[in-house]
Amino acid sequence: MLRQLPPGRRMRRGTATPGSRRARRPPPIFLLIPAAAGLVLFALPVVGLAARVPWRDLPALLTGEIAGEALRLSLVSSVAATVLSLVLGVPLAWILARSAFPGRSVVRGLVLLPLVLPPVVSGAALLFALGRRGLVGGFLHRAAGLTLPFSIWGVIAAVTFVAMPLMVVTVEGALRNLDPRFERAAETLGAGPWTVLRRVTLPMAAPSVVAGAALTWARALGEFGATLTFAGNLQGRTQTLPLAVFVALESDRDAAIALSLVMVAVSLAVLAALREHWWRRR
């Protein structure tokens, strides 16, 4: 005897395309409830922050001395970290993607380490290496008079250390996915390695380099733990936006909220920029 199909399923057979019908069905309740809870978890803090924003005093709060200096330090250090990641991270990504050498997995592990390391530990490690009594830091101090901790150079070193892996990972993935035939075609047309890199490889990987730069910049802008540990929290010298927010939470809650709002706006802008970029690639 033929097994009877449930009426609903039988009706659906042979009618419109399955995709369009399925799309109109509501999501199952056992997924909907946890998904909604997750969404609330994401949305609530943003709403909480927005609800407490002292809109009228905002201009004054953001142009104050502490906020202005923190903003400037954050912009300088995060842009410097992005530029350093382009100059150092893109070549590193190329080496990891294109050349086979013994110990490549060790190199990749080292590059990925700051992504998973607690930032405070990163800062402590930087201190032991580049601090005034550190492995290399002592030499730097004696030879060049350069002291990284408690200076903007220390901030740049800390945020670059933490953020650059995002550039390497993004660009390495893009280079791996690049069809090697384009570079080969360029070679047969007489292009040497530098021309191939400049006119074929990098332009073709450009969308990912841009994405990597945006991610790196956003991560550098938000860096807290490594900066605090390695460069300290000196207002006007090493106090970046996240540090200023942390300090202001104790003393001047309205200023903390205003600074947080700036960071939320910047983060949203980065997301929007990346979204636009992903949109165009599809």
């Binding site: 035939r181 384009f182 080969r184 070679e187 047969t188 047309l189 007489g190 040497g192 073709m204």
Partner: protein
């Protein structure tokens, strides 16, 4: 000094070994034919410098491009070997003109000069005007893309030209146009040329000698007639048997040279070359009835027996080669001189070009 290509190529790669002697005099076109996996692409990569050889040598116009025993290996950029890749492989982030100008710019030409010469080449491949120059590859048709690829390879004045399955991604109309264009440009190209293909008809139209490659080894080298008359393998025999007919097509009627008329499935105007596979030609003792429109009576001029099939060459009015099984041969009692009926379905006649 133009002395052409002399090569003896031995490479091993993932358990596959390629061992090929190859000589192409200047001004000649060799076609490398072979089934998938025969080593055609590996051969192309070796000549372009994308893969070093393990033993042997590659010399072009007296220059050594690759010779492990002398420790010489020239990078692709130093070889002056132009390549038209399968699917074109145009740079997706550049317009057609920039693609063609790429080689000139890499050689140090100024931007304006490079663009001027590239524009001349775009015109030479039939893509002048029409706003195509600035168009990105993904907005070009397959045929247009291959024309740009040809211009891009030729603009640098290479010493040798490699064509790697240049037609494989094209539809019939685009194939015909590109084939004609290639024939014109090859005629004006002084160096050796190598066409890699698995389509015998295209090889016969463009090349003057043939290298048949199977499982990494050369099975046969020779002219079209050498392969037609003495095929060295089953694959070679398959290639060689293809009937090429030239004539004038109008509507769905093809008037073959000599005056015989055939019904064809495609409506094409003008001079054409058409291909018919021997297995697509049926032989009958009595006049066949049914769908084939192309039926005529003739006699058998020659019968070639191979292990598992029989090649039958017919006489006038339209001499063709047909292939039957040994069983069919004995059943129909096919001998030289016997009178037979020949039929070809219109859909089995492949129009290759309309020049």
């Amino acid at each position: 000094m133009r002395t052409g290509l002399q090569a003896r190529i031995a490479v091993e790669r993932n358990g596959f070994s390629l061992d090929v002697p190859l000589d192409i005099p200047p001004g000649h076109t060799a076609a490398v034919l072979g089934p998938n996996g025969a080593g055609k692409t590996t051969l192309m990569e070796v000549l372009a410098g994308l893969l070093p050889i393990e033993r042997g040598y590659v010399r072009l116009d007296g220059r050594t491009l690759d010779d492990p025993s002398e420790g010489v290996f020239l990078a692709p950029s130093e070889r002056r070997v132009g390549v038209v890749f399968q699917d074109g492989v145009l740079f997706p982030h550049m317009g057609a003109l920039e693609n063609v100008a790429f080689g000139l710019r890499a050689a140090g030409a100024a931007r304006r000069e490079a663009r001027r010469r590239a524009a001349g080449w775009l015109e030479a491949v039939g893509l002048g005007g029409g706003g195509l120059a600035e168009r990105r590859p993904r907005f070009l048709s397959g045929g247009q893309a291959q024309r740009v690829a040809l211009a891009r390879a030729l603009v640098t004045d290479p010493a040798m030209l490699l064509l790697d399955e240049p037609f494989s991604a094209l539809d019939i109309t685009a194939r015909a146009g590109l084939r004609q264009l290639l024939a014109d440009h090859l005629a004006g190209f002084p160096g050796p040329r190598l066409l890699i293909t698995h389509d015998p008809a295209e090889a016969f139209l463009l090349a003057d000698h043939f290298v048949i490659l199977e499982a990494g080894s050369v099975v046969q080298v020779g002219s079209a007639d050498d392969i037609r008359l003495r095929p060295a393998s089953r694959y070679a025999a398959d290639l060689a048997g293809v009937n090429l007919l030239t004539g004038i097509s109008s509507g769905r009627l093809l008037t073959v040279e000599g005056g015989h008329r055939l019904q064809v499935a495609e409506s094409v105007e003008g001079r054409v070359i058409a291909a018919v596979h021997p297995r697509a030609i049926s032989i009958h003792i009595d006049r066949p009835s049914g769908s084939p429109r192309n039926v005529w009576q003739t006699n058998i001029r020659r019968v070639d027996r191979h292990a598992d099939r029989v090649r039958v060459q017919t006489g006038g009015p339209l001499p063709v080669t047909a292939e039957v099984t040994p069983d069919a041969r004995s059943a129909l009692d096919l001998e030289e001189g016997s009178t037979i009926w020949v039929s070809i379905k219109a859909t089995e006649i492949r129009i290759l070009n309309n020049s």
